[in-house]
């Protein structure tokens, strides 16, 4: 031991390392999983749950699943999931009865759509205004031409549309076409004109009070009675109209939320500049309100996308319907769980990524408005 003299300066000893039980993996475990007896019991319970759920699920879905190709359930020799069925019926699950030689048209339609949406949403991509104009004013006609045909492309009747393609078509047209209607309804609900306000409120509350199924029933059995003699609406078109009216009410409420967040000074400023009602809303209020409403509109879109599965009930066979009927095919009896797992994964991938995007947007917008 060194001798301490008066001239030795006081030098702090280096810090002792914390006890091994408080740092690293062990410390983390102690803090988060075994901090007290009840906590330990909870941890053991969670581990038991994981043990019961995860290994059998992985085993079913991956390790003892059938990945090989085949033509009937007999080719599924392992006792796990029969992905063979999905492989055999992949085309029909994605495109319904859309003719195989024309499926490129569907592909092009959705590639265009995703490109336009990505251009609009991803930061740093230039020409936002032109992406929006393309998506909302040009793309719908291009998509209709590609999917339905005419002008040089052979016509493919809507009766043969189906599978995932139908879900996407219904959800996209639903949201794109219900957006203008929803904005009008939201403005109507805040209008000073009593009749306009009353009608908007009545429509919004009526639609939000009834289940989508009853609206679809109305579209499929009551709409035809409303039409003059000889006018026959395409069944898919009726369903689309039902979905548009339904989602317009929800969009209206989202937009109203955005409108309510705009301070009164913005209206007053616009009026002081001499802008009339439409210019005030179109140039000053709505651009700000819609920006705020985007996350909730995305959430509505997720809900609408999942709700498009309901059209099976009125006889339109979308992805879930195709999966169910595939599992009922005599060749593939007993594959219902595989079919449902596939459908669930597809929806999960779409909806989960969209909901993450809307959460990200919410965080971003929140900081933008924090004062």
């Amino acid at each position: 031991m060194a001798e301490i003299t008066a001239s030795t300066p006081h030098v702090a000893l280096p810090d002792q390392p914390p006890p091994a039980s408080e740092v690293g993996v062990v410390g983390w475990l102690r803090r988060n999983l075994f901090s007290s007896i009840p906590n330990t019991v909870l941890t053991l319970f969670a581990l038991y749950l994981l043990y019961v759920i995860v290994p059998p699920l992985l085993n079913w879905a991956i390790f003892s699943a059938n990945w090989q190709s085949g033509t009937s359930v007999k080719d599924c020799v392992w006792d796990g999931a029969c992905w063979t069925m999905i492989r055999a019926r992949f085309g029909i699950l994605m495109y319904g009865f859309y003719p195989a030689e024309a499926r490129w048209r569907v592909d092009v339609t959705f590639v265009l759509q995703f490109a336009a949406i990505a251009g609009l949403l991803i930061e740093g991509v230039p020409f936002k205004k032109y992406w929006a104009i393309f998506l909302f004013f040009i793309y719908p006609f291009v998509a209709f031409w590609l999917l339905y045909g005419g002008l040089g492309l052979p016509v493919i009747e809507t009766a043969s549309w189906g599978g995932l393609m139908l879900n996407l078509v219904l959800a996209t047209t639903g949201i794109v076409l219900s957006l203008p209607l929803g904005i009008l309804l939201a403005l109507g609900r805040r209008s000073k004109l009593p009749i306009i306000r009353l009608l908007s409120v009545a429509f919004i509350e009526f639609v939000r009070g009834v289940p989508l199924i009853t609206v679809l029933f109305m579209a499929s059995v009551v709409f035809p009675l409303f039409m003059p003699e000889g006018v026959n609406f395409n069944k898919l078109l009726r369903v689309v109209i039902g979905i548009i009216l339904f989602s317009a009410a929800y969009i209206a409420e989202n937009v109203r939320g955005g409108l309510q967040a705009i301070p009164k000074g913005q209206y007053e400023g616009a009026m002081a500049l001499g802008l009339n009602y439409w210019k005030m809303n179109g140039l000053v209020v709505l651009p700000q309100a819609l920006r705020i409403a985007i996350p909730s509109i995305v959430n509505s879109f997720i809900g609408l996308f999942m709700d498009t599965t309901l059209v099976i009930i009125v006889g339109q066979i979308e992805l879930l319907g195709m999966a169910q009927s595939s599992a009922r095919d005599p060749n593939w009896l007993g594959t219902i769980n595989t079919a449902l797992a596939f459908v669930s994964m597809v929806f999960f991938i779409f909806c989960f990524s969209m909901s993450r995007y809307s959460q990200y947007l919410e965080r971003k917008l929140y900081t933008g408005h924090k004062r």
């Binding site: 988060n32 004109l193 009749i195 009070g209 009853t214 599992a327 909806c351 989960f352």
Partner: protein, 396 residues
């Protein structure tokens, strides 16, 4: 520009520039257009109905329905029961599955929501995965999964899954004990009512005494003992007027007890599990909305953690939780209509589906069905408004 033209423009503009006149013109135009559309649609419908030979009006409700729904909680007879009776049956089935679903969804939702806030890493993550997975898979797929994927693969009657010897689960549904009421059973509900009233009185007295003297009284546990204890005592005192009929395997099926259809079980499971994921998020955000300063202040006052939760956090969190919670209840009720995919005989399935198909009176059937859901949703939103007014912060 000529003088005449200028005068005309000025006159026209002045009317249009007048805010009041403009409002009247726009509203009159909208009202007339809507009226014209209505007349047009009604006329078309009348012509179409006449051409197809379909009656209109509500007389069909008194006609014999002529089909037997699979599940009925109201007396139903194939030979004499009317379409009106079918409506009642569908309504009761919808309300029953919704009510039980709301109870289960609330319980599960609160558990998962609190688990989302747990200090335990594993529990927190498990709850988060549950919420993310369940919310992002369509409810219809979940209903089909529980019905065709799980309940159809259950063992047959002879190999039923046995829970404690009282509950049996097999392909034909869930079998459980049923109460049999004998003479004098009314004493038990009477005791329950007395117990509830006594508990409320005790609670009020304890609160007043605490306000006056500061002395505490274990009002909650005493109240609980009264509500549970009095009916039990009444049951014992009256010589057990309620007995239980147990399901027993006789021949090819269970006899005695109550049975619940697999459609009901599947729909209930799917609705509860799906809605619970949404309720969990509401509970989590509600608790997180109470600022941490509240907890710290309560602890600084010396309140124990349980009391902090009960007296400080919960009342404030509930103010945030209840409005979206009621709209989830409404959603669950509306979503119960998806039972149509597995043929659960709810209102949409038997009335807007079967009766509408048989009578052809689509307008009336769909209108009545929509009206029922509207009434339910108006009732729930009326309750919500009342509650909001009741608990709203009194400011300035």
């Amino acid at each position: 520009m000529s003088a005449v033209g200028e005068v005309r423009t000025v006159a026209r503009q002045s009317l249009w520039r007048n805010e009041f006149a403009r409002g009247v013109i726009i509203q009159a135009a909208v009202a007339i257009a809507l009226l014209a559309l209505t007349v047009f649609l009604v006329h078309n419908t009348a012509v179409n109905l006449a051409k197809r030979g379909i009656a209109s009006g509500f007389h069909f409700l008194e006609n014999v329905a002529g089909f037997q729904p699979t599940f009925s909680l109201v007396p139903f007879d194939l030979a004499t029961s009317t379409n009106g009776r079918v409506f009642l049956l569908g309504l009761v089935n919808t309300l029953v599955v919704s009510a039980i679903g709301i109870v289960f969804a609330t319980l599960l939702g609160f558990i998962v929501g609190i688990a989302r806030l747990s200090h335990n890493y594993l529990i927190r993550k498990l709850a988060a995965v549950y919420v993310d997975v369940i919310r992002n898979i369509p409810l219809l797929a979940q209903i089909i999964f529980w019905y065709f994927g799980v309940l159809s693969t259950l063992p047959n009657v002879r190999q039923s899954l046995n829970f404690l010897g009282f509950f049996f689960l097999n392909q034909r549904g869930l079998f459980m004990p049923a109460p049999i009421f004998e003479a004098g059973f009314w004493i038990i509900p009477a005791a329950l009512v007395v117990g509830i009233i006594a508990a409320i009185v005790v609670y009020g007295w304890a609160r007043r005494r605490q306000m006056l003297t500061g002395q505490q009284f274990p009002a909650l546990s005493v109240g609980f003992a009264l509500i549970v204890g009095l009916p039990v005592l009444a049951d014992l005192g009256a010589g057990s007027p309620v007995t239980w009929s147990l399901p027993e395997l006789k021949g090819f099926n269970f006899q005695g007890g109550m049975s619940v259809l697999p459609e009901f079980v599947a729909l209930l499971l799917a609705l509860s599990i799906y809605t619970a994921a949404f309720i969990a998020e509401i509970v989590r955000s509600g608790v997180q909305a109470v600022s941490h300063g509240q907890t710290e202040a309560a602890r600084a006052l010396g309140l124990r953690p349980t009391l902090t939760t009960r007296l400080v956090i919960l009342p404030q969190a509930l103010r945030v939780i209840v409005p979206p919670l009621t709209s989830q209840y409404l959603n669950l009720t509306k979503n119960s209509s998806l039972g149509v995919i597995i043929a659960y005989p709810d209102l949409v399935s038997v009335f807007a589906g079967t009766v509408q198909n048989q009578t052809g009176q689509a307008v009336e059937c769909v209108a009545i069905t929509m009206a029922v859901y509207l009434v339910i949703s108006l009732l729930i939103s009326a309750f919500m408004n009342w509650y909001n007014k009741h608990i709203a912060l009194v400011e300035r």
